[in-house]
Symmetry: C2
Subunit: 230 residues, 2 copies
């Protein structure tokens, strides 16, 4: 394992938000291995023996249906881990894994990994902290990407505060506007500007009270996605 390999390990969500030393203890002194395209890593139903960190290449995870059809569940690449849930939970692999391109993988043995954690539960806590940090980051990213414009994001927040789906609606903001801007990932100036824009969509705000002229119209504004160019 050279430093560049450790950088990849540290770019995975499970090992990202922890000191490098902790990641090194968890992974152990495993050496990366080169696999050719088409190498079977494990088969559905086998006892789960190891999980993998992709340093390079592509791996598919698939299931075979009773009538022999192959259903691909995931395709993993550099900076991603797979089969770790099977190792955390013990038991058997719920699906099969196979390289679909030449790949460089780090194979972490389940038994050794689990006994490291059993000896030092603090290691599990580090992984949990890393995972929880990443989860928050991703949830935030999704909230901010999903609805594109600032006015759409505010409108989305507002319509979620009421069950009304037709006609006019009056909503009390649960807290002050500054916090709302923060929750929605906006600067105060952009927030005020976006709020002003919402007037054109029948939304007026006075102190903490929001008046929506036509919630159906606002809902379609929230869901409005400009046509794809192609």
């Amino acid at each position: 394992m050279d430093p560049a390999d450790w950088d990849i390990v540290k770019s995975t969500p499970l090992f990202g938000a922890m000191p490098l030393q902790t990641a090194q203890v968890l992974v152990g002194n495993t050496m990366p291995r080169q696999y050719e395209k088409g190498a079977t890593l494990f088969l559905q139903g086998e006892p789960a023996a190891a999980f993998f960190i992709v340093l390079d290449g592509w791996v598919k995870i698939y299931r075979t249906t009773p009538d022999g059809l192959e259903v691909v569940l995931h395709v993993f690449t550099r900076g991603e881990t797979f089969a770790e849930a099977a190792i955390f939970l013990g038991g058997r692999y719920p699906a099969s894994g196979e390289t679909v391109a030449a790949s460089r993988l780090l194979r972490v043995e389940g038994t050794a990994f689990r006994s490291r954690i059993e000896e030092r539960p603090a290691l599990a806590m580090s992984m949990l902290a890393s995972a929880s940090y990443q989860l928050k980051f991703l949830v935030e990213q999704i909230e901010q990407i999903k609805v594109r414009s600032a006015p759409q994001r505010i409108a989305d927040f507002m319509v979620r505060l009421t069950q009304v789906r037709k006609g006019t609606a009056v909503i009390e903001l649960p807290f002050e506007k500054g916090l709302l801007a923060n929750r929605l990932g906006m600067k105060p100036e952009s927030f005020s500007r976006a709020l002003a824009h919402l007037r054109a969509h029948g939304v007026t705000v006075e102190r903490g009270t929001v008046n929506i002229a036509d919630i159906g119209r606002l809902l379609s504004f929230v869901e409005y996605a400009p046509e794809d160019e192609a």
Copy 2:
């Protein structure tokens, strides 16, 4: 804790993908508590004593700068947990927590929580499995939301396979198109249609080889975001 409260606990990423019984053991027999608006839950620098699950309401996490300025880091609501990283890692709260609306919270004591896990490392494994399942789900969601149209998603995948950023580029697809469609979350038909659309952007695919007439042009297509309506 009534069943509806457990539904909320089960909607959090950390407790989502595990049996209800496991979640119940982990959370313990804590009772939810009602907090008024403006209640201080913990202060930055205090030893981390508990983490919280929001059953209802809104909580802000903030830091106070040396010159007394308050900087809000997060605003949490129903179905979200906060301060769990401080509990996983031990130590002190890195920020303060305060309700910004009347809130119903489940407060999970750190000491009890940690000793439950130390006695039964399998509990930590369940949380790790749940977190890792959620992480994958969120990463996938982000990939699929970020670039909106199917042709944009394919183009985005292609430009990442080369370092070329100007002029023509020739790329080898790392694996067959069926897997690529899967990785990008598309049905085979939509994938073929999207690929055909890309011809208008100077992209032709022959077997596994992709010819890009002008990668700069394709990059601007990937980054193309229609103007916000407002």
